[in-house]
Structures are given as structure tokens and as C-alpha cells.
Symmetry: C2
Subunit: 69 residues, 2 copies
């Protein structure tokens, strides 16, 4: 079960073109994006920790996304 | 401006550990995940098209995510 609202993910899919989108498709993408998000967040946490902070900032997130995959 | 609710993305970040999360951090991750989502969706659209469909299904999404990056 994803934390991301399926309706929001459905809108993202339809940004890419004039597609119809099955509900399982939106649910699948919501899960995939959530997994990516958790991975990036874990890395961001390591970077915050490395900088002696307990708060994750946008710079941690951007650095983590850059070094992701 | 992201389609993904910042509160939902904030929850995803805090799944990775007991962090405080700055609001710009959640906004940055929402944007990053949305961009990823659009890229995956475009690819999924090509796969649906290739299969002579106008509806994107979960199999298109999963194939697109697999071939992403």
C-alpha cells in the first residue's frame, strides 16, 4: 500500500500524453515512486548525519538524488 | 509545483528513519519523484502504443520502470 495518492499519480501519468490510465497502472507507479522515495530519503539521512544534523534538508535530498543509482 | 502532496512525501522520508524533515526537503523530493514519474509514464506510453493500446496498464508501467535509467 503506497502513501502516495493514486489520483495524484494518475495525473502525473497523463502529463506524459493523452493516455487512458488503468487504475492498477496508477497504483503500480505509486508503489514504484514510493520505493524510490524511500531509497533517496535513506541516502539523504546518511548525508544529514554526516553533516551532524538530525534534520533532513533539501540539500541532502538533492545530493541523494544525484548519487542515486 | 508538484502534483504530489508534500505531506505524503514527508511521510515517505520519515519511513527511512527517525528524522526531522524540513519543508523544502519534502518539496524537493516531491519534485524529483514527479519528474521520475513523468519519465516512466512516457516510456510506458510508448510500450502501450507498441502494443496497439491507448490505455496504459500496470504491465506497461512495470516494463518502463525496469528499463528506466
Amino acid at each position: 500500500m503506497s502513501s502516495l495518492p493514486v489520483a495524484a499519480v494518475d495525473r502525473i501519468i497523463r502529463k506524459g500524453g493523452s493516455w487512458r490510465v488503468s487504475e492498477p497502472a496508477a497504483m503500480a507507479l505509486a508503489e514504484i515512486l514510493e520505493e524510490e522515495g524511500v531509497k533517496i530519503a535513506r541516502k539523504a539521512g546518511e548525508f544529514a548525519s554526516h553533516a551532524n544534523r538530525r534534520t533532513i534538508t533539501d540539500t541532502d535530498i538533492r545530493l541523494a538524488a544525484k548519487h542515486h543509482k
